[in-house]
């Protein structure tokens, strides 16, 4: 495939088209990913998440500028929610990253959640692999931390930055249970605002109570709009990446992610086989009739189906 060659040689248009393919077409995705898999695994993946209005895009913009300043290539996947009514979405994260658009070392891609249950994380992971193979040193996934599917996306990251902001009500409470736990680094953005110290204190207290002894996530105060605290945050990100590598956790994480991914792939194929088997020739319908009429119970039906599939 010509596009893959072009992508590997750094062409952005080819990279963009491949992302479209893996995002939309499972068969295409498989063909592409089979070919490029051997080129993946080199990028450090950073997840940036937090409540709406926390300034994640501006923060991403500043982090990227800092990394690019060191000569690194950075890919960004910015995820915004899809409207459940129309299936459309407005993806506006680029607004905050305008002057990165032309940087040859930066690639920005916006994605809608498109509402597929659990499916989103798969498409995002596919897109990540393309950027990884295209030679981006860092890949940032930016998403609102409000729903389970967003949490799943961000779990694909090696390092997760939770962005908090003072004054958005009781924001710590408003973040869904289970999301706070995934943060590797906490950034208190808009630290020039009244209430920033309180928010920082609250986060620190919570971390003191909850975090494991092994590594307590650091809390960094930043004001992204004024470029304050960014260096410190980037340092913490790198420290975390080093920590993952040195402690063997990175390998551990990637192994478990790969286990999960292979399991999911198998599950997906198995489900397809099972579904096509039971839905063919109205087999399921006639079995359901029997169960309803108490001629059989549902466990008998299950065993019969599985038996034919196993054979």
């Amino acid at each position: 495939m010509e596009l893959i060659q072009q992508m590997l040689s750094g062409e952005k248009r080819a990279c963009a088209r491949l992302i479209t393919s893996v995002e939309n077409n499972p068969e295409e995705a498989e063909k592409i990913l089979r070919k490029i898999y051997k080129f993946t695994g080199n990028a450090s993946i950073i997840g940036i998440t937090g409540p709406p209005g926390a300034g994640k895009s501006t923060l991403t913009d500043k982090i990227v500028k800092s990394l690019v300043g060191e000569g690194k290539k950075v890919g960004i996947i910015a995820v915004d929610p899809t409207s459940p009514y129309s299936g459309g979405s407005i993806l506006g994260d680029r607004i905050r990253m305008q002057d990165l658009a032309l940087n040859p070392k930066v690639f920005i891609r916006s994605m809608g959640t498109r509402g597929q249950l659990g499916g989103l994380s798969k498409y995002t992971k596919n897109a990540l692999k393309i950027l990884d193979a295209a030679g981006y040193d860092y890949i940032i996934i930016e998403t609102v931390g409000v729903g389970q599917s967003e949490v799943d996306i961000v779990k694909a990251a090696d390092t997760i930055v939770m962005v908090m902001v003072p004054g958005l009500g009781d924001d710590i409470q408003s973040i869904k249970a289970g999301i706070m736990e995934i943060g590797d680094i906490f950034a208190i953005n808009k630290s020039d605002l009244f209430g920033a110290d309180r928010t920082a204190t609250e986060v620190n207290m919570m971390l003191d109570l909850a975090a494991s002894v092994e590594r307590r996530p650091p809390v960094v105060k930043v004001t992204a709009s004024k470029n304050e605290g960014i260096d410190e945050l980037v340092t913490e990100i790198k420290k975390h990446i080093d920590y993952l590598k040195d402690s063997g956790k990175l390998e551990e994480r990637r192994r478990s992610n790969m286990e999960l991914e292979i399991t999911e792939l198998i599950e997906y194929e198995l489900k397809k086989i099972v579904i096509s088997n039971i839905t063919s020739e109205n087999k399921l319908k006639s079995e359901v009739d029997k169960v309803i009429n108490k001629e059989k119970n549902m466990y008998e039906v299950r065993d019969e189906f599985l038996k034919t599939i196993k054979e």
């Binding site: 979405s89 680029r94 658009a101």
Partner: protein, 132 residues
């Protein structure tokens, strides 16, 4: 079938984004994925975004009168970047007599004041240059 992806951009310096925002919402409500880039975009920025986002459509809105320079420039750069299969449309305060020149330069349609969002959506759906 995947959603149609549209880049809605405001080239040039004019800050009137009422129309661009209304259109962005209408396209979303028609099931499209709209990438909105905000104000003060240079043609180079718009094209870079269109390429990276791999959009099917680029929609340009301008009210300052700078369309004769900015629209053709976007179309030209799109071709240069190998993205000639992207549908380019434009709108704003644009005199009728400028429209033929803009079309020749590669802008497929110009929507002037009074166009409904429905007409625009129909046009997009009927004139895509790529399979979706």
């Amino acid at each position: 079938m995947r959603p149609i992806r549209v880049l809605v951009a405001k080239p040039g310096l004019d800050g009137h984004d009422r129309g661009a925002k209304v259109i962005a919402r209408a396209l979303r409500d028609a099931g499209m994925e709209v990438i909105y880039t905000g104000l003060r975009q240079t043609p180079e920025q718009i094209v870079a975004a269109a390429v990276q986002e791999d959009v099917d459509v680029v929609g340009l809105s301008i009210l300052s009168g700078a369309h004769n320079y900015l629209f053709p420039r976007v179309a030209e750069l799109m071709k240069e970047q190998g993205a000639g299969d992207v549908l380019i449309i434009g709108g704003g305060v644009i005199p009728d007599e400028d429209i033929p020149g803009l079309k020749e330069a590669g802008v497929s349609e110009i929507f002037t004041p009074g166009t409904t969002t429905t007409e625009m959506i129909e046009f997009i759906k009927g004139n895509l240059k790529r399979d979706i």
